[in-house]
Symmetry: C2
């Protein structure tokens, strides 16, 4: 039975205290053991006094998940921290893979507690305007665990059907070909003037934002910590911001007037719940 | 000049206090005027004492954006609240459309402050497991402002290239055809046993979660406030959770052993930054 053993998988958002939720703070506050990648542990170090901290290097994701599961299974209150949302390219999936491996059943220790966080696409978007207001997707360009053919197919599908595209892991020291190839696939479907934003370390010290376009963004530095946001065919630049319109101004005038072919009285009938 | 006039566009997350960030709280705390859709105003009503509150019905999105801009332009400290992240199918894009309409320039009042929040896809995902761990997309099925042909094309692209798909606005009182059509498009590319989660009102009173699959999810109630998460071809159910693996167990054993065709010593070389 799950007596005392709790495993909270916690997203701390972009990394500054202003964007860590009360739920995440509470989970960390209540924990006896905090497990995480060294860089993320640093981001919450002011919350860790009196706790056991298990910090590992970046090559030890599986070991980190297993350590967290084992400590919680043995009865400890454990927090496994991720940056952003732990459920988006984060540790949450791996925790379930480890639990399955050990034959964990619901009702067994540990009790699971999944705490959502602000994911990188959203924190980065808020630094450049409103690029993700309409349909969008995230694609990781890391082909360490996913064949490039699968990734390329997704890029092509997203480009051809006019999704706004957030590219995670666009490049690393040795891995530089993928972003070039992604560019050439997207360029077949979108104008060279399509807005592109590069955001590195949103809300962290040394944050760097570059506003560019599809024909020029490869001229700038793109690394492991950069998120690349590629607009759709309607995305525009406005006073240094990148904005994807929802379609109000195309279909209706902002004055509420009826455009040719529109039904009078429907211009403002946009339901809030129809987000 | 931007003297005193501030417009903060603030995402309050799923709607309970445990998931409102300190940055969002601070913006609301500092505001003189808070503008929002009635339902969202209710979610933060405990923070509004002594403030002027402009709450409108759900058909008045454009009026709400314009009211917020005008009050801030006139010098007030204004917060416009959205649920989730205001930059994802939220008010942020519309604010920029209104600013463009009135010829606003950077440096003019109001000063803009975009505060990210936990978006519905992420809060809903955390209630069902870890379905969004790999490449995913969001598609709104509302065709009030987007032609159905565009939406259908996106569904087909996402289904055929194996994205996990979060469907927003899957249905409303009169609008029931779209989710049926979305199902039939996705079913052409994915097995009927593909996990599907329906999440309504995550973290709110009356939250409702249904775990189903592609062949059966249409048997359940789906409304305006439901988010439908459709797994990719690798997504699995595990002890009542829905999980999309990152690929660790397929490519490497969790024991760190080398599978046929793999390089020894690379099994744990998965960089944390390569999220």
């Amino acid at each position: 039975m799950a007596e005392g053993g709790i495993l909270s998988v916690v997203g701390i958002g972009p990394g500054d205290g202003a964007h860590v939720t009360p739920a995440a703070l509470e989970a960390i506050h209540n924990a006896q053991v905090v497990v995480g990648y060294r860089t993320y542990i640093k981001l919450v170090r002011h919350l860790l006094e009196g706790k056991e901290v298990v910090q590992t290097g970046m090559t030890e994701e599986i070991g980190r998940a297993r350590a967290a599961v084992e400590r919680a299974r043995a009865g400890a209150n454990v927090v496994l921290v991720s940056s952003g949302d732990a459920g988006v390219y984060g540790m949450a999936g791996l925790v379930f893979e480890v639990l399955r491996e050990i034959g964990w059943k619901r009702g067994d220790a540990p009790t699971l507690n999944l705490v959502p966080g602000i994911t990188a696409a959203n924190s980065c978007a808020s630094r450049v305007g409103a690029p993700l207001v309409h349909d969008s997707c995230t694609i990781s360009l890391s082909d360490l665990l996913t064949p490039w053919a699968v990734i390329a197919k997704r890029i092509e599908a997203a480009a051809s059907s006019d999704f706004v595209i957030s590219l995670y892991n666009p490049a690393s020291g040795r891995r530089t070909r993928q972003i070039v190839e992604a560019h050439s696939i997207i360029r077949r479907y979108r104008e060279g003037s399509t807005p592109v934003a590069l955001v590195k370390g949103a809300y962290r010290e040394g944050e760097k934002v570059v506003m560019s376009d599809l024909d020029h963004f490869l001229d700038y530095e793109i690394g492991m910590l950069t998120t690349v946001i590629v607009g759709n065919s309607h995305t525009f630049f406005f006073e240094g911001y990148m904005v994807t319109p929802r379609g109000y101004t195309r279909k209706y005038t902002l004055e509420g007037d009826v455009l040719p072919g529109q039904q009078p009285g429907r211009s403002l009938v946009v339901r809030e719940e129809e987000v």
